[in-house]
């Protein structure tokens, strides 16, 4: 675990998210879809921007008027689109920053995930440059303030052949060419942003880029309502002969400008470059943490079915043709640097089955640091000697609620790197061999999974919706799912107690003298 301040912050985040869930329902809580929400806002801003581009006049003299025309003469339609463009961008900054903080708090930025983090950093610059150039285009007093401030800030570097700020020196200094350049930048940067957003999620399998429908509908209504009630307006037209005095800045984009005004360009550069560098190297600052070994494919046991490739949250497994004389045509191939050692692939492999003969239990893809054989042995050991009615094995993960204090005469616990590593056949095995009367599966709540997708795949496998499925003959009453964040130990204990009462009331199952049976489909 990381430092205590971060753990406390993370606990606070989980509590806030739970409270929010209670208020709006889990599907409508944007906290689990912050990256996807940023994508959604990008599309809103892109579409509204296309509309605004048509009536916009790229000349210093008429730019402001053309935007006034859109806002006032084309009300509601034009004004609404302009407001959506503005508020959509603000919302994107908000969700992007929350996304950054949340990924950091959940510790999802180092090890194999360095790529998403590292490629996320330039997105901040691109989002901000898009926003600032957008405000600049309005050519009102705020634009004048931004233009001069930004130009002075850039000039300070001394790398441009001509001073940019001199373009804004006097009323006559500004040319239409400059506005053509500006609109080009304002369109080109978002296009690069889109490309960079695509790179950002390149190494993420099934990246969540579309928020759930409920959120899309709710947020769209919210944006439209806000735009109608409080439409975006301009300041008075820019006048380079008059200084800017009292302004109403968009703080989502302009929070750094007062720093420039009061502390000067060196400080403003220092802070922006400093923060960028710090963010960029963060994944490697965390490298002191022990990184578990990547999963390994055991060629003799792999039939190339592709389950692991489809389940891996980071696309670390690919299926390739094989040439080793095996009857199977394909084989799984690991890319170790993409692997977060979650073990989800282990559970997705059909060979990860304790009913199959072999000691040790070998499987097609396995974690060197926590092999499937160890899982099976631990299940036996942790359930050994459990007594009383309602004997339960709690299977959980290292990132959700801590399991240790659930242990007792009737309860055994086993924590895995990720709940997604629980092969349905292991549950079947524990019940079939009468090791326990019931199995409680827990772990991070969906959307909060440290490794991504663990709870989602587990729930689907147990419900028989995803291979490998929990065998139909397994009594579903004896298998229970309860997702619990690290802050929800009490709720988990309560659920366990309820489950045990329920199990104790159930009749003992009839068990045929068990030998190895076909389990996972």
């Amino acid at each position: 675990m990381s430092n205590p301040i971060k753990s406390a912050l993370r606990a606070g985040l989980f509590r806030a998210e739970s409270a929010w869930d209670g208020l709006v329902g889990r599907e409508a809580n944007p906290m689990y879809h912050l990256g996807a929400m940023s994508w959604y806002f990008f599309w809103i801003v892109g579409a509204s921007g296309l509309y605004l581009f048509v009536p916009y006049d790229t000349s210093a003299a008429r730019a402001w008027n053309s935007i006034e025309y859109i806002t006032r003469e084309q009300w509601y339609w034009g004004g609404l689109i302009r407001s959506l463009h503005r508020y959509g961008s603000d919302a994107m900054v908000l969700t992007m920053m929350l996304h950054l903080v949340r990924e950091w708090l959940l510790d999802r930025y180092h090890g194999a995930r360095w790529f998403a983090w590292f490629t996320g950093v330039p997105l901040i610059w691109m989002v901000f440059s898009s926003g600032i150039t957008g405000y600049w285009l309005v050519w009102d007093e705020l634009a004048q303030y931004l233009a001069i401030g930004t130009a002075e800030w850039l000039d300070w570097l001394g790398i441009f052949a001509q001073s940019i700020a001199r373009n804004f020196l006097t009323r006559g200094a500004l040319t239409d060419r400059f506005f053509t350049l500006l609109i080009f930048i304002h369109i080109a940067v978002p296009l690069f942003l889109l490309f960079a957003m695509w790179i950002h999620i390149l190494r993420i399998n099934r990246a969540d880029t579309n928020p759930p429908r409920q959120l899309v509908i709710g947020t769209s209504i919210m944006l439209v309502a806000l735009s109608l009630i409080h439409p975006a307006t301009s300041h008075p037209a820019a006048d380079l002969g008059r200084s800017t005095a009292i302004l109403d800045p968009d703080w989502f984009f302009m929070a750094l400008y007062p720093l420039y005004d009061t502390k000067g360009p060196a400080m403003a550069w220092g802070v922006s470059i400093g923060v960028t560098l710090l963010l960029s190297v963060m994944p490697w600052m965390a490298l002191r943490r022990k990184r578990s070994s990547a999963a390994e494919v055991l060629a003799s046991h792999c039939n190339g079915c592709g389950n692991c490739a489809s389940d891996c949250p980071f696309g670390a497994v690919t299926i390739r043709p094989r040439q080793d004389g095996s009857p199977h045509r394909e084989i799984a191939v690991m890319q170790p640097d993409l692997c977060t050692s979650c073990g989800i692939c282990v559970a997705s492999c059909n060979k990860s089955n304790p009913f199959l003969k072999g000691d040790p239990h070998k499987t097609g893809i396995d974690l060197p640091d926590f092999a499937f054989d160890l899982v099976v042995k631990r299940v036996s050991a942790r359930t050994h000697g459990l007594t009383g009615p309602g004997r339960v094995l709690v299977l959980g993960c290292d990132h959700g609620a801590v399991l240790d204090h659930l242990k007792g005469h009737s309860v055994g616990v086993l924590s895995l790197p990720c709940t997604g590593m629980v092969a349905p056949s292991v549950i079947d095995y524990a019940l079939n061999k009468d090791l326990v009367d019931g199995v409680l599966v827990t772990g991070c709540r969906p959307g909060e999974c440290f490794h991504r997708l663990g709870p989602e795949w587990t729930a689907m496998r147990l419900a028989g919706e995803r291979v490998p499925k929990l065998r139909g003959a397994v009594d579903k009453e004896r298998v229970r799912l309860f997702w619990a964040a690290s802050t929800e130990v009490k709720a988990l204990s309560r659920d366990l107690a309820e489950f045990r009462v329920q199990l104790a009331e159930m009749p003992k199952p009839e068990r045929p003298e068990g030998t190895a049976r076909r389990v996972a489909e």
């Binding site: 929010w20 209670g22 208020l23 709006v24 329902g25 409508a28 503005r86 508020y87 603000d90 919302a91 908000l94 303030y145 002075e152 000039d155 001394g158 052949a161 001509q162 001073s163 700020a165 001199r166 020196l169 006097t170 409920q214 709710g218 947020t219 209504i221 919210m222 944006l223 309502a225 806000l226 009630i229 409080h230 975006a232 380079l240 002969g241 008059r242 200084s243 800017t244 005095a245 009292i246 302004l247 109403d248 800045p249 968009d250 703080w251 989502f252 007062p258 005004d261």
Partner: protein, 167 residues
């Protein structure tokens, strides 16, 4: 589908979201320059005089050169650093020496300053040294102006006329 118990909660949450965006998109207001003050800008890019004297090439020297490079004089490329000073109402408010741009110091020297001054009458004195004599200022100008609140007043150097410009 939305569960009935969540409808009120969603209204509250979306309203909070909208308030957050709507508010910070234009509030709180920011006081950039005081509205009662004027803004005095000093912005110039000026190439100092060349450091060395130029010397005329002899006809023999010219003949040895490729035809497209036969300029009559041979001059060093390096230019002087430029020093610029400004007094406002008898007080020195700006003083800077700027190196010429470029690796061989053959470019222009750049100055930029922007400061608030109270509206009203002011006496400005600007002087610039761009030549080889460290004891004199090659350019000087003095002006009395009355500045309006929020007026932007620019001091520049007009390269064509070879003197300071005020606007």
């Amino acid at each position: 589908m939305i569960k009935p118990q969540h409808i009120a909660g969603q209204i509250v949450a979306y309203t909070a979201f909208a308030l957050m965006i709507g508010y910070f998109a234009s509030r709180p207001a920011y006081h950039h320059h005081a509205p009662e003050n004027a803004l005095l800008k000093l912005s110039l890019t000026h190439a100092g005089q060349r450091v060395g004297e130029c010397k005329d090439r002899t006809p023999e020297e010219l003949a040895k050169m490729p035809p497209n490079m036969r300029t009559k004089q041979s001059c060093g490329r390096e230019r002087n650093a430029v020093t610029l000073e400004m007094d406002l109402d008898g007080k020195l408010v700006f003083q800077q020496t700027a190196r010429p741009a470029g690796l061989s110091a053959d470019g222009r020297s750049r100055f930029y300053d922007s400061r608030e001054v109270p509206a009203g009458q002011h006496v400005m004195r600007v002087r610039m040294r761009d030549g080889n004599n460290a004891n004199i200022f090659d350019q000087k100008a003095e002006l009395t102006v009355t500045l309006e609140p929020r007026q932007v007043f620019v001091v520049d150097f007009d390269e064509e006329d070879g003197k300071f410009s005020f606007q």
